[in-house]
């Protein structure tokens, strides 16, 4: 399933921010909520969060850029995350990651030119006893082998 995101809209952004301002330490919650709605955190949202939470723009920017999860621009239509942590390495993950990179013609951390697929590393999905593992648009896949990684890449390219 491809996630459907709304196009950025300042009024909608303000609405999402307002839903969470009552929480203690709301910054991360708001960033997550914005990304869930728009697929990334649009730059204009940063000063809006700052003013809603009575923080400086720099503080919010600092939080936004600290965490690996938050996107500065939309990802490809599908996001394929491959676990690159030790456990999946022990189970043969290195070769599978290289295979996915070769099939897609991009390195981990990049998006294909047609903006169909974003390939990302992830450090542990907690599926360590059914390694190597991957996540395609939120769907978990364990016990990866060459056939399974090929199928995942093909699915992402569709």
């Amino acid at each position: 399933m491809m996630p459907a995101y709304e196009p950025w809209d300042a009024a909608r952004g303000a609405e999402i921010i307002a839903e969470h301002t009552h929480l203690e330490g709301a910054t991360l919650v708001i960033l997550h909520a914005l990304q869930e709605a728009f697929g990334y955190v649009p730059e204009p949202a940063v000063p809006m969060i700052a003013s809603a939470l009575n923080l400086s723009r720099a503080e919010v920017h600092g939080v936004f850029t600290f965490y690996h999860d938050f996107r500065h621009q939309p990802a490809g239509r599908h996001v394929l995350k491959l676990c690159r942590a030790e456990d999946c390495q022990a189970a043969g993950g290195d070769a599978l990651a290289a295979r996915a990179e070769a099939k897609l013609g991009i390195a981990l951390g990049h998006t294909t030119a047609d903006e169909r697929v974003t390939l990302e590393p992830i450090y542990c999905l907690g599926l360590c006893a059914t390694a190597p593992s991957a996540m395609l648009d939120g769907r978990l896949v364990g016990r990866l082998d060459e056939a399974r990684i090929d199928a995942l890449v093909a699915e992402a390219q569709r």
Partner: protein, 518 residues
């Protein structure tokens, strides 16, 4: 009569097709007009057999696994007729791998419906809280202290002392925080318990709240665990409906509320002060200690911050008494440890056992060696910051002090097995690289040291002035170990130094050993 079938909704089982199997079973049942009821449980933790499904019989739950969609119809047939099937594993509780364990914390995981308070109560749930409510703060503290429970996140700090410090600190507000940022590769016990028995975590946190006088708790779960987040939120809602959270917990005068907060992909947030910063909505930058979180924690208030497994151990300790828990274990490591066997291993999964079992028993005997069938060359114990141990150290008993004595750590109890195709200088490089990616940047040894470490190990791998550069890495590790603010920079030397010490032959130009092995 309706067949009651149990299928895990654990992420590890789902990743290998549990949802599809559930669907296929429903379709198969509809086709043959069989009356079945599917209960989604957590996982029993026998991951090489997942998806492992069970059916209730008068003799106990009969297990089958690993089941695929294609097996659904024939497995249903076998369930219906109590007939033979190639995937039939026998009564689940009698499977030797499970029977050999001492499941105190994971007693209900894989057994009950994680969303059902009734099911939880029917399996001894909330007995700990009930007793805690009759005991009062001081007696609870005495029980937790006497149990010998030490922080299961990795640091092994006595839980009773931590709680007592918070209880004795006066403030207008106090917090209970659960560290569910289980980022260590090779660990999944927190995820499993949150998905399979989330109420035990809630019960443990509630007891902590009553003990120290806190009425609000947060569970900080990493974003890489979407299933655990859903399961935890559902369990919190169920506990609220049943009167176990909110005002008047379990009919008492105490009030306690819980909220799930989601991390954002920063490994360092598993460090407790960084986690608190993140909960407050800031960059996950480590705080200097003191002040301890017990004195000045979340929003500057006294805070109990413990790992998921520490809280999950509490209900048993309160219900069964401190002695029942402390009777297990060795030395200063009391009770049981949910050990996670993973990586290149034949029988991987969750193995909860009293402290004292040796590394060799766990890897060879319980785990059955590698799934590739090649010899085990190294095991990393305790996540990305844990040491690599060679076979010569397999007599090390699972115990905080025994591992420390051999320059290792048990951490959160994860064991990752590598076969003889592993290149240990590459693993050492990865440890430095991971530290560089995940460093919060506050202290220099971690921020700069890790990057210089990667560069220097690259030189060694290229055969450039090997002895001199090894000396540089050793020196760098020394600085990081003693000069870093937290365990990220401070413990990254463990995997690096252990690889250097035990696998020196891998450090140099061209991995000749690998070529010889081919």
């Amino acid at each position: 009569m309706s067949l009651r079938i149990f299928i895990p909704c654990d992420a590890g089982a789902v990743a290998v097709g549990a949802d599809e199997v559930a669907l296929a079973l429903e379709q198969a049942a509809a086709k043959r007009g069989a009356d079945i009821e599917i209960v989604r449980t957590g996982s029993r933790g026998l991951y090489w057999l997942e998806p492992m499904i069970e059916v209730a019989t008068p003799k106990g739950r009969l297990a089958f696994g690993p089941v695929t969609m294609a097996d659904a119809a024939s497995v249903l047939e076998a369930m219906n007729s109590d007939g033979a099937h190639p995937l039939r594993l026998g009564i689940a509780d009698e499977i030797p791998w499970l029977k050999r364990q001492t499941r105190l914390t994971f007693a209900r995981c894989g057994v009950i419906d994680p969303r059902s308070v009734e099911d939880y109560r029917a399996h001894d749930g909330y007995k700990g809280l009930e007793r805690a409510l009759t005991l009062g703060s001081e007696a609870i503290l005495a029980e937790v202290t006497a149990s010998g429970l030490r922080g299961r996140g990795g640091a092994g700090f006595p839980t009773g002392i931590k709680w007592k410090t918070v209880a004795q600190t006066s403030a207008d507000r106090k917090y209970i925080v659960c560290n569910a940022d289980e980022g260590d590769s090779g660990t999944f016990a927190d995820r499993m318990i949150m998905e399979g028995d989330p109420l035990v975590v809630i019960e443990g946190m509630t007891i902590a709240g009553i003990t120290v006088g806190a009425s609000k708790g947060y569970i900080y779960i990493r974003s890489e665990y979407p299933h655990a987040i859903v399961a935890m939120n559902a369990a919190i809602a169920a506990a609220k409906r049943a009167g176990y959270l909110g005002a008047g917990v379990g009919g008492s005068a105490h009030s306690f509320d819980l909220e799930v907060r989601v991390g954002a992909g920063a490994y360092v947030c598993g460090e407790e002060t960084s986690l608190l910063e993140s909960l407050e909505g800031r960059r996950g930058i480590v705080r200097a200690k003191p002040p301890l979180p017990a004195h000045k924690g979340l929003f500057g208030k006294p805070t109990v911050i413990n790992n998921v497994l520490s809280y999950a151990a509490i209900p048993f300790i309160l219900a069964g008494g401190a002695k029942a828990y402390a009777d297990f274990g060795m030395g200063r490591s009391r009770g049981t440890m949910p050990i996670q066997l993973a990586g290149n291993i034949k029988r991987g999964g969750l193995f909860e056992v009293a402290f004292g079992i040796t590394l060799g028993e766990l890897v060879d005997d319980v785990g059955g060696g590698t799934f590739t069938g090649r010899p085990v060359r190294a095991v990393q114990v305790g996540g990305p910051l844990g040491a690599y141990f060679p076979r010569e150290l397999f007599d090390t008993p699972f115990d905080y002090e025994a591992f420390a004595a051999r320059d290792g750590l048990i951490g959160h109890g994860g064991i990752v097995v590598f076969d003889d195709s592993v290149d240990m200088s590459k693993q050492a490089r990865f440890a430095m690289e991971f530290c560089a990616i995940e460093s919060c940047g506050k202290c220099t040894p971690c921020r700069i040291g890790s990057t210089r470490g990667v560069e220097t190990i690259d030189k060694i791998r290229a055969g450039e002035r090997v002895p001199e550069n090894i000396a540089v890495v050793e020196d760098l590790c020394n600085t990081m170990k003693f000069g870093s603010l937290c365990a990220l920079g401070g413990f990254t030397p463990y995997p690096v130094m252990s690889a250097l010490k035990h696998f020196r032959e891998d450090f140099g130009p061209a991995p000749t050993r690998l070529q010889a092995a081919e």
